[in-house]
């Protein structure tokens, strides 16, 4: 449940912050949200990655369809990576990695500052 919650929060963060700020500001916010939720590292990574990856794929896909532009195709030819849809995928993968690493860092940060419960075996 918390996993879905974090994914959803990351989607919100990217959707709201990214239009106004560059990607590295978005990274900081994802880390903060992830630290706040406090899921284990790997789960946080997945939630952050999925959240940001989905938004970036969604946005780039939406822009291609809405605009009807052949620019993605032209850019793909320029870069030499096949079609415009390949670029949507590459954009998604980049968002996936950025979001994932940010959320992982946030989770790891929280771990460091959360005191581990002492003497749990001594009763």
């Amino acid at each position: 449940m918390k996993f879905i919650g974090l994914t959803f929060l990351v989607i919100l963060v990217v959707g709201i912050i990214n239009p106004f700020f560059p990607f590295w500001v978005v990274m900081i916010f994802i880390a903060i949200v992830s630290a706040f939720i406090g899921l284990p590292a790997f789960v946080s990574f997945l939630a952050g990655a999925l959240g940001m990856g989905l938004v970036w794929v969604g946005q780039s896909f939406y822009l291609s369809i809405y605009s009807g532009s052949d620019l993605p195709q032209k850019m793909a030819e320029l870069i030499g990576v096949g079609s415009g849809m390949t670029l949507v995928a590459i954009t998604g993968v980049l968002g996936f990695i950025i979001g994932g690493l940010s959320a992982w860092t946030g989770s790891a940060f929280r771990k460091v500052f959360t005191p581990a419960p002492d003497n749990i075996y001594r009763g």
Binding site: S60, S69, K74, I98, L101, T105
Partner: protein
């Protein structure tokens, strides 16, 4: 453990952020490019999808309303000229910012700043030609009049307000790919743009002719390159009487030219066969009884397009037509009262002088009996990713010493200074500001009195019925032969001694024949009292155009459109019978040779896209040219060969002539030898081409393409356009050059106007308005260019108000 997780994740995150926000070699920062909110994805939006109803524009005295038609042509309504040009700056930048800046960077020799060391040679050349030097002088001229200066400042302010409002998202995609940001626009950049155009349009062959003179002797040069052709059909009608006293200049008693054989790369030249057409027919020849004017400048076919269309309206005037992004006002267009257009008027406005320096320091040079001081201009060329390149250019009173020990002539101890009218103080901006609001022939002349370079044939027609042509530019008075060869800069008689007064520049008003026209041919008949010469005069388009105009009556706008798109290949019509006559058909028995011959013989001489014969003729002629001038092409020193017209004359009139014999072979070659060898080569080349590429109809062979300004951005270009025409044809569309703008205007109570250009209003390769006019252009179609009034929003794409 928990620390390890933090350290690893932090290093990876920071490392990634660092990696994707920095360029790696020529790859731009990935985040900036791919981020859907800021990267290239944002450039997929067309202008109507991001249209704003209101835009804040500071320093306006009243709101400015803009109506965009369905092709994104802005119709700008302002209360006064300063508001108008401020809005022109903003709007042009909205659609063409990257192009405006790139072209002026090119003229200023600053491309290395963007692309790195690969462009140093190009930048050095542009600086050594003195384009920036000329722009500084040009700006001085413009700024000497406060009204013009205020307009230039207003335009710059408009551009800069747009630049200041740019976000990562709205930045043109080229900046994102090449990873740099726009800088502020200045009036100096508007001056640079005019030098960019001057450079594109003006060339010289002094180097090639000097070499030819050295090798062949002056007599032979004169025979092969006569001052006037047999069929001269000049810009100003031959019957024109010249009733003024010309200024006399003193020619040297004995003309001794520097006698070096010059083995060096010349500066790049304008493409041969490119040029432009313009004409106006008087009401006596039109169906409606009103004058009709037509203009189609032929330039390199580029994207973003060279031209940008606009209507500019104040309560006092309303003008529409083609603007040059970065220049003020409309360059080729019409208003309620008049229409005008431009074609290039080459007249050898660039000369080269051999400089004799006193010593190695190059601080003084010989001029007559004295030693004159030079000036040194230090050119600092900033280079992306490297230290700046410092180039020192020596200036004499002639101009920059372009070729010297450090540039283009490494093996030779030569110094040549370039004299060029584009280096002089000028007022071209004022010309167009005045022309935009001209009401009659007098206003047109007043406007042109400010125009210096690049020289143009300005065609004119007015609502009151006048038609006119004036060849305007600053032209030196030359003694016969002056400027054909490199000259001795130490001899003052070789220098330009005077300029032709503007009222003695060739011009005509309402000539008897009922039309005026120009197609880059000889400007005048030999009776004009000044020496006129250029290597590149057109010999075909002009005759076709004038023959048609003489023949036609009851002319309509549609007739004029058809004439702009006319594919008649006059050169082929004159040359083919001659070479078919010289061909020994018996020798070519193969089926394919017979097929080619049959196609050539049954040809109607139209270079339409679906015709096969133009391809065959074009290749055959090219092969004949190779055969005849084989020895010339092999010389170490660069020369130029006689033009197509003179070649036809030689083939026709002296097929046994000495000129056809190659000196280094034992046989005696004649015209027939080359024509037959050329045909053999045609058969070979063409059958090979046919087996590899298939259909050789003209459009398939010619492959007209419109290319992005950055050659590497191949996918931003439009290639293989199906269209006819070619060099020397009225529809002058060749592989990379052609009608960059076509306009036909019928004057009257309200002007009836049509226009088109091979591109689109938007400079954004992602916009649906980037290249949307190309297919209509390629079919000879036009869009309605009538003036729009403020309350006419019918069919408007959107409207914007600047407050």
């Amino acid at each position: 453990m928990k620390y390890l997780s933090l350290i690893v994740s932090l290093i990876l995150s920071v490392g990634l952020a660092f990696l994707i926000s920095r360029p790696i070699d020529s790859v731009p920062p990935l985040a900036g490019l791919l981020d859907p909110n800021h990267g290239f994805w944002q450039n997929t939006l067309s202008e109507d999808q991001i249209a704003e109803k209101e835009i804040d524009l500071d320093n306006l005295s009243a709101p400015v309303k803009v109506i965009y038609d369905e092709d994104l042509i802005p119709h700008v309504f302002a209360e006064n000229e300063l508001d108008l040009y401020r809005a022109q700056g903003y709007i042009t930048a909205q659609h063409r910012l990257w192009q405006m800046e790139f072209q002026t960077h090119a003229a200023a020799g600053r491309i290395s700043e963007i692309v790195g060391p690969a462009a140093i040679e190009l930048d050095r050349m542009n600086r050594r030609k003195g384009l920036a030097f000329g722009a500084e002088k040009g700006l001085a001229g413009m700024s000497s009049e406060p009204e013009i200066e205020a307009i230039l400042e207003a335009f710059s302010d408009g551009v800069n307000q747009y630049i200041d409002g740019l976000t990562d998202a709205t930045l043109p995609v080229e900046y994102k790919i090449l990873n740099y940001r726009p800088e502020h626009w200045t009036p100096y950049k508007s001056a640079l743009l005019l030098k960019y155009m001057a450079d594109m349009l003006m060339g010289d062959s002094d180097l090639q002719f000097s070499n030819l003179r050295k090798i062949l002797g002056e007599e032979m040069v004169n025979k092969l390159f006569p001052y006037f052709p047999k069929d001269n059909d000049p810009v100003i009608e031959a019957e024109r009487i010249w009733d003024f006293d010309p200024i006399q200049v003193q020619s040297p008693d004995t003309t001794v030219y520097p006698n070096d054989l010059l083995v060096m790369d010349p500066l790049p030249q304008p493409e041969p066969g490119i040029g432009s057409n313009n004409w106006a027919v008087s009401g006596s020849k039109t169906k409606s009884g009103r004058p009709i004017l037509a203009n189609d400048p032929h330039l390199s076919l580029n994207l973003p397009s060279i031209w940008y269309s606009m209507q500019l309206t104040t309560p006092n005037h309303s003008v529409k037509g083609a603007t040059l992004p970065g220049a003020i006002g409309v360059i080729s267009g019409f208003n309620e009262n008049i229409a005008w257009g431009v074609t290039n008027a080459t007249k050898d406005a660039r000369d080269w002088y051999k400089i004799t320096f006193k010593d190695e320091s190059r601080t003084q040079y010989k001029y007559g009996d004295e030693w004159r001081d030079t000036e040194f201009r230090i050119e600092e060329i900033k280079v992306k990713g490297e230290d700046a390149f410092i180039d020192t250019v020596v200036y004499t009173h002639y101009g920059p010493v372009v070729y010297d020990k450090s540039f283009r002539s490494d093996r030779q101890d030569v110094n040549f200074s370039l004299k060029w009218t584009a280096h002089e103080e000028s007022q071209e901006v004022k010309t167009f500001i005045l022309m935009n609001k001209a009401k009659n022939h007098d206003d047109y002349n007043d406007a042109l009195d400010n125009y210096i370079a690049p020289p143009q044939n300005f065609v004119f027609a007015a609502k009151d019925g006048d038609i006119a042509m004036r060849i305007q530019g600053k032209f030196p008075v030359k003694w016969e032969g002056q400027g054909r060869f490199f000259m001795d800069g130490a001899d003052p008689l070789m220098d330009w001694q005077a300029y032709i007064p503007f009222d003695q520049n060739a011009s005509t008003l309402n000539p008897e024949r009922g039309f005026v026209s120009s197609a880059n041919q000889h400007p005048v008949d030999p009776s004009y009292p000044y020496f006129v010469w250029d290597r590149s005069y057109e010999h075909y388009r002009n005759r076709r155009l004038n023959n048609e105009l003489r023949r036609m009556d009851d002319i309509t706008v549609d007739d004029m459109k058809a004439l702009q798109f006319d594919d008649y290949y006059l050169h082929a019509a004159e040359a083919l019978p001659v070479i078919l006559d010289l061909l020994d058909e018996e020798k070519f028995n193969s089926d394919v040779a017979k097929k080619y011959l049959q196609e050539l013989k049954s040809w109607d001489f139209y270079a339409d896209p679906n015709q096969k014969a133009p391809t065959l003729f074009y290749i055959w002629w090219d092969k004949i040219d190779d055969q005849i001038w084989k020895e010339w092409y092999e010389w170490e020193a660069l020369v130029t060969t006689p033009n197509n017209y003179q070649m036809v004359e030689l083939l026709k009139n002296e097929p046994q002539g000495e000129i056809f014999d190659h000196k280094n072979t034992s046989e005696t070659e004649t015209a027939a030898t080359h024509v037959n060898a050329g045909f053999a080569e045609l058969v070979e080349t063409m059958s090979e081409w046919e087996s590899e590429e298939g259909d050789y109809s003209w459009a398939n062979y010619k492959r007209t393409s419109v290319r992005h300004l950055v050659p590497q951005f191949e996918s931003f270009s439009v290639t293989n356009i199906y269209t006819g025409g070619g060099r020397g044809i009225l529809n002058a569309t060749s592989e990379r050059h052609g009608a960059s703008w076509r306009m036909v205007v019928e004057l009257g109570e309200t002007p009836n106007a049509y226009g088109i250009y091979p591109g689109g209003q938007s400079g954004n390769p992602g916009s649906r308005f980037y290249s949307n006019m190309i297919s209509r252009w390629s079919k000879g179609e036009y869009i309605d260019f009538s003036l729009r009034s403020l309350d006419d929003t019918q069919g408007a794409l959107f409207t914007t108000t600047f407050n």
